[in-house]
Symmetry: C2
DNA sequence: CTGTTAGCGCGTTCAG
DNA sequence: CTGAACGCGCTAACAG
């Protein structure tokens, strides 16, 4: 194994000098910097991440926390995109990542969680899918013992950033698109889980829209469940001109109900998952770029680790009309 | 941070003794073992995995390699299950895991890959989705520089195990189920990718079956592509009594084609993905327990790391008749 | 059976 | 601007 020592010898400098070059310290002459870099190339040297972590204590080791307990295809898809984006970006930025699922942290006290994370030399947490009921994790973030980046959760402090799209605007925009095409006077809105942070934001969006446009709005809680959305639509769909859903999965449920009742109503969704391509008719939805969101989250983490303060990052979204593949009937 | 030293002081022994207790070395009296364990409990001590890895060089750090380059919902689902199973199990066994996607290793020479893995102190590789065209990775496994566990790929040597179901039997069994129900004289078999290791095994299964039952068999290469399966079915479906597919995704494609042509033929799939619940009619398929497969893979890795030799592990599968949810038409 | 000691590979003072 | 020396937390001989 070629170590920093070998590089130092080859470049004719001290090991500490090599270390400084590696970590972009100031006060290194261009000349020695070049010599060191040449030696690194020649020896095909890669710094040992583990030794580096041990020595510096500020490892740049980041844990990706995923709330993957529910098993739905749609969820799988979204989390996979998040994960792929986060891991690839982390490697680009030289961060060392490990993946942790919420389920692994259940039944463990917050102190034990901290001990575990410390034992892994973890200094940063990127959290996907946090909800209001994850009290332990929220407390963990609050304590500011780790640098945190939260996706779709609105906690910000000196050590914590959050990344999400403008939920209210997105919900507003997607339904607006439908209004442009169809005559709509009343809307049935199927909302997400009460303990989800995005739920209230999206609700704001639809409420603002209906107020502004003078539309009648009925709100029912669908909990992001396809089944519930379907039941709700069966019960209330007929009396409304359109069904707006807080997720694509619920939009599927709504569509099923409409089909069953043999009536037509425009439906809008949220997320833009590929699964939609397998199941439905045309529909407007909010397309989130999950990989990009993950990228931004990692960048934000990188900044935090380098001393920046936490902030809210709003990423962009699109309103798309899904062009469905053909359907099996 | 409470370290091994603190524990030693508290227990009134030397640090090395603590280390030995931690790592289950022989030749430690029950008495001191107890003292040390008490001290560990009292101090809430957790060994620093990073320091341990650095010192021992035999880190128990394992990389999960995933061939997640294609973006299909079905694939997402399968890989997510693999990942979840592997990571949870690894934590149980005290293995430290990092996740790597094939795409991160593209355009990198094999030597550089090795250097990278070494720099991460990785000693074991669990590989999901290896295919014959991943020449670099195959060479990597061949060199036996790392302990490897391959899922769905038949490489075995002293340092390499593989885990998979009995592909041939599964393919045989699932189609047999259909034969029990329907009058079938000729089968259109849509196979997987030529460079996939499972493809030829599954092919064997269907060939054996047809030979034994005296059925006419037409084989077309579907490359695991829904679209191709659909085209193939459009072209050849009508002249056969059933369509057997080497993946659920292709089964979806086949079903679409049948619907379009407005004819009925029984279809069989492979994998048992949840996505199927969203798209099709009833169908027999092979249900693989991806999480269990991942579990077994990690266990196998654990054994390899502890000196066992590589072997082939066959996991179980079921033949299921999917009860589809209702469909949107 | 237990303690002493020397590193693992790197980061970080602090003189020079 | 550079280098010697120490230490991160732990493991692995080697003594005792």
């Amino acid at each position: 194994m070629v170590s920093i020592k070998d590089v130092a010898k080859r470049a004719g400098v001290a090991t500490s000098t090599v270390s400084k070059v590696l970590n972009n310290y100031p006060n290194i002459s261009e000349n020695t910097k070049r010599k060191v870099n040449d030696a690194i190339k020649e020896l095909n040297f890669v710094p040992n991440a583990v030794a580096s972590a041990l020595s510096s204590k500020q490892s740049g080791r980041v844990a990706i926390l995923m709330n993957q307990s529910v098993q739905t295809t749609a969820i799988d898809e979204i989390y996979m995109q998040y994960l792929l984006g986060a891991i690839v970006k982390s490697k680009e930025l030289g961060l060392d990542v490990i993946t942790i699922f919420f389920s692994m942290l259940e039944d463990i006290s917050i102190d034990e969680i901290i001990v575990y994370l410390r034992s892994q030399n973890i200094t940063g947490l990127i959290v996907f899918g946090l909800s209001k009921s994850d009290t332990n994790l929220i407390e963990l973030v609050r304590r500011e013992e780790f640098k945190c980046v939260l996706i779709d959760a609105p906690l910000v402090n000196k050590n914590t950033s959050c990344v999400w799209i403008n939920q209210a605007k997105a919900q507003y925009d997607v339904v607006s698109e439908v209004l442009n095409k169809d005559e709509v006077k009343s809307i049935l809105y199927i909302s997400g889980k009460e303990n989800g942070f995005v739920t209230s934001r999206r609700l704001e969006g639809i409420e603002t829209l209906c107020r502004r446009m003078g539309l009648k709005l009925t709100i029912k809680q669908g909990d992001f469940s396809e089944k519930k959305a379907r039941e709700i639509t069966m019960k209330y769909g007929k009396n409304h001109d359109m069904i707006a859903c807080a997720s694509d999965l619920m939009a599927i449920g709504a569509m099923k109900a409409l089909t069953e009742m043999d009536i037509f109503r425009p439906v809008s969704g949220f997320d833009g998952i590929a699964l939609m391509g397998y199941v439905g008719k045309q529909m407007f939805t909010v397309k989130q770029d999950f990989r990009n969101i993950a990228d931004r989250a990692v960048e934000e983490m990188d900044k935090l680790l380098h001393g920046a303060e936490g902030s809210e990052v709003i990423t962009t979204h699109e309103i798309v009309r899904l062009q469905y593949l053909d359907i099996i009937c």
